[in-house]
């Protein structure tokens, strides 16, 4: 089973939920931190056996001796990664989306595959669990191929818990699109509610069932609960706002260590998620 934790709005508690849920898992799991621009899960986890693998993506390399400046590659590339200036064909690797169109169209076989490093995929263990995260090279713009690389490295013999990047555009989609269930974390504020509704629309568009976790819940503030019941989305868990939680988070501590009473809540959440998983499997 592959479960994503996503949110729309940033800073609502995706990573907090992911690391606490991972540490409360009833079986060995693999946590995938797919926020490759700003991966944070490893900051909260004591990891061992860290291994790094650089990850690259195709870029065109031009053989100027073979190139006849016919311009076919320049025409086919819709990302302006190949441009003829004067009597030279120039490649702009940072514009390339790796569609390989230029290589296919070149009649002279003057374009060969090169590589641009996107960043690293890092694998580590913690207890019986595994953690895999991506670390995008600073200055690189394109995160989806690295997000896919993190997922390719995941083992296929255990459940996967995936910490998604914020937003609702390509990076978030690349992270959640083949998940079985998505847990949407939000906070009871107008921003939290607005972005939650965008994330719900996204999950529905991708046909992935979802549930909601309210973080920093306050007594008497029911805007998220009201929305969930209106939209008929299961409310999975409420984590109350406590200044002590915020302070221990700031030091990189897990909630279940700060307040062991929460451990039961996370174990309960696993039960709900696994039950949902069984239902989904039965339905398909």
């Amino acid at each position: 089973m592959k479960i994503a934790i996503a949110s729309g709005k940033g800073g609502t508690g995706k990573t907090t939920l992911a690391v606490n849920l991972a540490a409360s898992a009833p079986m060995p799991i693999c946590l995938l931190d797919c926020d490759v621009e700003e991966p944070n899960a490893h900051l909260f986890i004591q990891t061992e056996r860290i291994q790094r693998y650089p990850e690259g993506v195709f870029v065109p390399v031009i053989d100027t001796d073979r190139c006849t400046l016919c311009g076919k590659c320049e025409t086919i590339c819709r990302f302006s990664a190949l441009v003829i200036i004067g009597k030279r064909l120039l490649a702009y690797p940072e514009m390339c989306h790796a569609c390989l169109g230029c290589m296919r169209i070149c009649p002279e076989e003057a374009i060969s595959p090169g590589e641009r490093i996107l960043g690293d995929v890092v694998s580590a263990t913690f207890g019986t669990h595994q953690l895999i995260w991506g670390e995008m090279r600073v200055g690189e713009a394109m995160s989806p191929p690295l997000i896919e690389a993190v997922q390719r490295m995941a083992p296929d013999d255990r459940s996967l818990l995936l910490d998604a990047p914020p937003g609702t555009s390509c990076p978030m989609i690349a992270a959640i699109r083949d998940c079985d269930f998505v847990v949407l974390v939000t906070e009871p504020t107008p921003f939290g509610l607005h972005d939650l509704s965008l994330a719900v629309e996204t999950a529905r568009h991708l046909k992935i069932p979802c549930g909601i976790v309210v973080n920093r819940a306050e007594k008497g503030n029911t805007q998220i609960q009201d929305y969930a019941s209106r939209e008929k989305i299961p409310l999975l868990l409420e984590i109350p706002f406590k200044r002590s939680y915020a302070e221990s988070y700031s030091r990189g501590e897990k909630l279940i260590d700060t307040d062991p009473a929460l451990k039961k809540a996370f174990t309960g959440l696993w039960e709900i998620i696994l039950k949902r998983g069984q239902e989904i499997r039965r339905a398909s």
């Binding site: 940033g10 944070n40 989306h97 995160s143 699109r177 200044r243 915020a246 700031s250 030091r251």
Partner: protein, 310 residues
């Protein structure tokens, strides 16, 4: 005209709340919400939309089943696995990158290309000047292009209307839309929080700004949640040549302002609001210093400053 971009690396550190306060404190400015996939600024800045336009940042292939010979070429050439090997093949817009090579290589000419409408952008008016914001469609791409377009429009409007400042509320992260928000800006205000994650993400963003040669200043939001971490982060930032500005204390008034759909400085005179007013003056000072060095002492910023002293 100067352009100030508010960024954080980590999400949820207070970029939009601070942008809204600055938008209210500046008597004349253009406001841009560059977090196009989860735009929130319009929720706390009273405004009136006076035009909206579709945004097309790419193309989408469209297969004509009457022309398709079912040869499978499109399935084979698509590097993004966006074409399902059905009969006839099915194009999945969620996976499609918009490279168009399925169209180029289709021997039957069965695949056409149409512009992909990936969102809507709005030109709104507020008491202190125009606001440009957008809404990226569900599961759409090209947020970077949309951000660049909004900033370009803001620049045009600014020059026409003689606005002294463009204020950009940026997206989280350090990828495509952040780079699009930053390129060519005059000053970045990093808004972060004293947490391990905030620190990690701040350092990556600082590296990006340094690489792009854009001056950076820093404020720590909710600094009192961990004074020790605040101190460490300010030291680290200072060592990287980042200007350290007033930090903002944790204040429940912040959430109240958001719930009321207003900026904090409009409805509160509590400690966080006071800190924001101080921060605004400091940011203006930095922008002015740059103005003097780069434009030989134009004093437009000076007039801004006088009007907003609390």
């Amino acid at each position: 005209m100067k352009e100030l971009v508010i960024l954080s690396g980590k999400g949820g550190t207070g970029k939009t709340s601070i942008s809204a306060a600055f938008a209210h404190l500046a008597p004349s400015r253009i406001l841009v919400d560059a977090d196009v996939d989860a735009a929130n600024l319009h929720l706390v800045v009273p405004h009136k939309v006076f035009s909206s336009e579709p945004f097309s940042g790419g193309i989408l292939p469209e297969l004509d089943p009457t022309l398709c010979t079912d040869c499978g070429t499109c399935v084979e050439v698509c590097a993004f696995h966006a074409i399902k090997d059905a009969h006839p093949p099915e194009i999945d817009p969620v996976y499609c990158e918009g490279c168009g090579i399925c169209h180029d290589f289709c021997p039957a000419g069965a695949i056409g290309l149409k512009p992909r409408i990936s969102g809507t952008w709005f030109h709104s008016s507020t008491a202190e000047g125009p606001m440009l914001h957008a809404h990226l469609g569900i599961a759409e791409e090209n947020s970077g292009k949309l951000v660049s377009m909004l900033r370009k429009r803001a620049g045009e409007l600014g020059r026409q209307g003689g606005y002294p400042l463009i204020l950009v509320d940026g997206p989280p992260g350090i990828g495509c839309p952040v780079i699009a928000s930053l390129t060519g800006a005059d000053l970045v205000l990093m808004v972060t929080e004293p947490t391990l994650s905030g620190r990690h993400d701040m350092l990556r963003l600082a590296k990006l700004c340094a690489r792009m040669r854009i001056p950076v200043c820093l404020t720590l939001n909710k600094w009192d949640l961990n004074p020790e971490m605040t101190h460490t982060m300010e030291e680290e930032a200072r060592n990287r040549g980042i200007e350290i500005l007033t930090s903002i204390p944790f204040d429940t008034e912040m959430a109240k302002a958001m719930a009321a759909g207003r900026s904090l400085t409009e409805i509160s005179s509590g400690p966080a609001s006071q800190a924001l007013m101080q921060l605004w003056q400091e940011v203006l000072g930095l922008l002015e210093k740059q103005q003097k060095s780069s434009d030989g002492g134009l004093l437009i910023m000076e007039s801004l400053k006088q009007e907003t002293i609390p």
